[in-house]
Amino acid sequence: MTTTIADADTGADARRGPGALRRERIGHLLQHHGALVVLAVTVLVGAATFDSFATPQNAANIVVSSSFLAIVAIGMTFVIISGGIDLSVGSSFVLAGVLAAYGSRYGLLVALLLPLAVCGTIGLIQGLIVARTGMAPFIVTLAGLLGMRGLMLAISDEGANTYLVRDDAFSALGQAAFLGLTVPVWITLALVLLGGVLLQRTGFGQNVFAIGGSEEAAVLMGVPVTRVKVLVYLISGLLAGLAGALNAARLSSGVTILGVGMELDVIAAVVIGGTLLTGGAGGLTGTMAGVLLLGVIQSLINQIGVLTSSFQQVVSGAFLALVVVTQRLLHRAQRLS
């Protein structure tokens, strides 16, 4: 092919001036690593203020209690980057816990596979509805939230029946520790690594970004949109199911009241972590920073003592608002440049 040379760059750059690129980069950094910076600052402030904060024990506590949220948040990150949202994860989490506890009477395998199968199937169905009918993900998964809560109540005698975990091997999955951290923490770490590779280094991950960025373009670029969307909700359902099962193993019972409203915490963590709710941008590092940040704030509030735990809601609500406002302002600044 003979080359037909035009000037290196077209108008956009010439008009933007040299400062624009730098601003673009700073914005990029803030977007992707802002949560990490805030997390670091919060930890430092916490460590300086409370003697009992920066102890290995407390750090382990934060990590352990955050791991369940983290697992669910991995799935949510995929969903949100694809331009969707999954409100059903809280219900999925609880349902999985009840199913796992119920299934544990038949052994470890059933205790694990039953919740995964049920939550995975429901995730799959949600994905199919979203992908095939074009209905808004938020409303489809809202129906999923209600439906799964109904299902959970139905199998637990309207919430009155708390199944106890009857399998020691399964309990160990939630409680046993290795190098000072419980099994769920290690599972979380493994899943973050796996999810990171899947998101950044595979065709599937690229497709998730493409769909979230512009679904129309993705279709025309030959991205199998339906399949990718279905998979994304399937992943989210499976991970919420896994987290619920592990939580049941930790508590040795299928608690029916925990996890209500968990979807809000998960979404908050993902958004605080810099993943755009409009889709097309984000990552798991940020999400993990977001999850830990929520955990650290909770821990700090516990340290202060006099504050009730509902104060945590106020703080995470404020944080969420702060983050989205910052994101908007950044976005605007980039536009103006």
Binding site: T4, A6, D9, D13, Q206, F209, G222, V223
Partner: protein
């Protein structure tokens, strides 16, 4: 005769309420650049969508290299060698240039995961061949339109396309970029790749196309070599009119008379600036005057109109209406002062699709049509009725949803909306783009008529002929600044082009 690369035989495709393609046949040979033309609603985009697997035909067969084929989706068509570059560049704005270029074909490392370093190297290599040298890691949205278009083209070609379909590829390009594009098309032709070229710009068609297929109302009106077809006949075929009639009338419906309007300016923009799109732009419109705003795409024409209408925040300068300064950045204040904008992008910024024709017309005038916040239905009815008759808006009833109207009628609804505000100055941004010929003529005649009634009109048009015949005076913009002003007999296509090209440099 050699086997056609791509052939469509007797294709029909219907949608609820319309038959978009009616027994259409089409033939594309190897190394051919084939113009596909027709007015809006002629069926061009439906045909393209059938060829690329977006739609399935109701009847008829597609042959690729002589073999019958059928695609379930665009991916299948692409794999078979048919790629499309759509009107709006269809890439993912948040993803990097490299990711966009190689999506689905990323180089892999030994472990089967994407090799980012090679991804970037490969993208750089490909783009250099298209004359683009830039950081391929940058998100696509931060690049210029021309670059984005080249990425789309490079992507299409690099998926080993045998057929490349280009839908209005030059609509967002500057002349220099158009030259680059045509160079690339010539290369494609030399490699035996076929191109289907969809455009409204006759110059371009005659410059690069070998053959033409003209569609009209879902049927093939003409197919044959392009150089044997006189321009006027091509226009006539597209419009479904007698060629002789076109020759007699000229192509536009403007009276062609240039009046020199007198009097104080109705609206005056003084040194309006907004970095980086506008610098010290001054324009004035007097009563009864049609002032054209010329220039290339991106020269700041739409931005000037939006700044005057208060829809674009400005860094400096003033807009005065009848001597009174208008508050900046408030479309509401501009409308109250009597300045109303009919935007270029009808769908995104014009119509409210969920509302009726009636509610759309009354929208901007609601404060005038209500008392203490309660609307008067009777007054709305009277107003809507009179405008629908005057502008000959064709709708089943005023209560029909505006989204169900044709583009031309939607445009008239928007004109009615502006006029209903009691506007003294209309800012019309590409008022005849993308509407059918009949409506185009009516809109042009209306502009003349409104000016004759004493309104001031600022007319933005990429159609030089429309600008020359429609405007009394033309202000030419270049790179966001006024490059010159032409009036009276100076208003000719040549003069406008000369002004645009005055410094020989169109981009800084």
């Amino acid at each position: 005769m050699a086997t056609a690369v791509l052939q469509a035989r007797g294709i029909s495709k219907g949608f609820p309420g319309i038959l978009a393609l009616d027994d259409v046949s089409f033939r594309l040979d190897a190394g051919q650049v084939h113009a596909l033309v027709g007015e809006n609603g002629a069926g061009k985009s439906t045909l393209i969508k059938v060829l690329t697997g977006v739609h399935r035909p109701d009847r008829g067969t597609l042959l690729l290299h002589g073999e019958p084929v059928s695609y379930d989706n665009p991916l299948a068509a692409q794999r078979a060698g048919i790629s499309t570059i759509y009107q709006e560049v269809n890439l993912v704005p948040q993803m990097s240039l490299a990711q966009n270029l190689l999506l689905g074909r990323e180089p892999r490392s030994r472990f089967g995961v994407i090799d980012t370093a090679r991804l970037h190297a490969e993208a750089e290599r490909v783009m250099t061949r298209y004359g683009i040298r830039t950081d391929v890691r940058r998100p696509l949205r931060s690049l210029g339109m021309g670059t984005q278009q080249m990425v789309a083209l490079a992507r299409a070609v690099s998926v080993e396309a045998r057929v490349v379909i280009m839908d209005e590829p030059t609509s967002a390009l500057e002349p220099r970029e158009v030259d680059t594009l045509f160079g690339v098309i010539a290369d494609l032709r030399a490699q035996g790749i076929s191109v289907i070229y969809v455009s409204h710009r006759l110059d371009e068609l005659y410059r690069i196309c070998d053959r033409v297929t003209v569609l009209r109302d879902g049927r093939v009106a003409h197919a044959g070599p392009l150089d044997e077809l006189p321009r006027v006949d091509l226009v006539a075929l597209m419009l479904g009119r007698d060629p002789a009639e076109i020759r007699r009338e000229g192509a536009t419906k403007f009276s062609g008379e240039h009046t020199t309007a007198a009097g104080e300016p109705l609206v005056e923009a003084r040194s309006v600036s907004r970095r980086p799109v506008l610098q010290d732009v001054s324009v004035q419109v007097r009563p009864g005057e049609v002032v054209g705003l010329g220039g290339l795409l991106g020269a700041g024409r739409s931005e000037t109109a939006k700044a005057i209408a208060g829809a674009l925040p400005v860094d400096g300068g003033t807009v005065t209406v009848a001597g009174q300064e208008v508050r900046r950045g408030s479309p509401a204040a501009a409308i109250r002062a009597g300045v109303s904008l009919v935007p270029e992008d009808r769908k995104a910024e014009g119509i409210v699709p969920t509302l009726s024709v009636r509610d759309n017309i009354a929208l901007a005038a609601l404060p005038r049509l209500s008392r203490s916040g309660v609307v008067s239905e009777a007054r709305i009815d009277r107003l809507v009725d009179s405008f629908m008759r005057r502008l000959r808006i064709k709708a089943a009833s005023p209560h029909q949803k505006v989204s169900e109207l044709s583009g031309g009628n939607q445009q008239k609804v928007l004109l009615a909306r502006s006029l209903a505000t009691g506007a003294k100055v209309l800012l019309l941004d590409e008022p005849t783009r993308g509407i059918d010929v009949g409506a185009k003529a009516e809109v042009q005649a209306l502009i003349d008529e409104l000016a004759a009634e004493g309104l001031g009109v600022l007319l933005i048009s990429s159609d030089l002929e429309e600008l020359v015949e429609g405007a009394d005076r033309v202000v030419v913009l270049r790179d966001g600044a006024v490059a010159g002003e032409l009036s009276g007999d100076e208003v000719t296509e040549e003069a406008i082009m000369a002004t645009i090209a005055a410094t020989g440099e169109t981009d800084g």
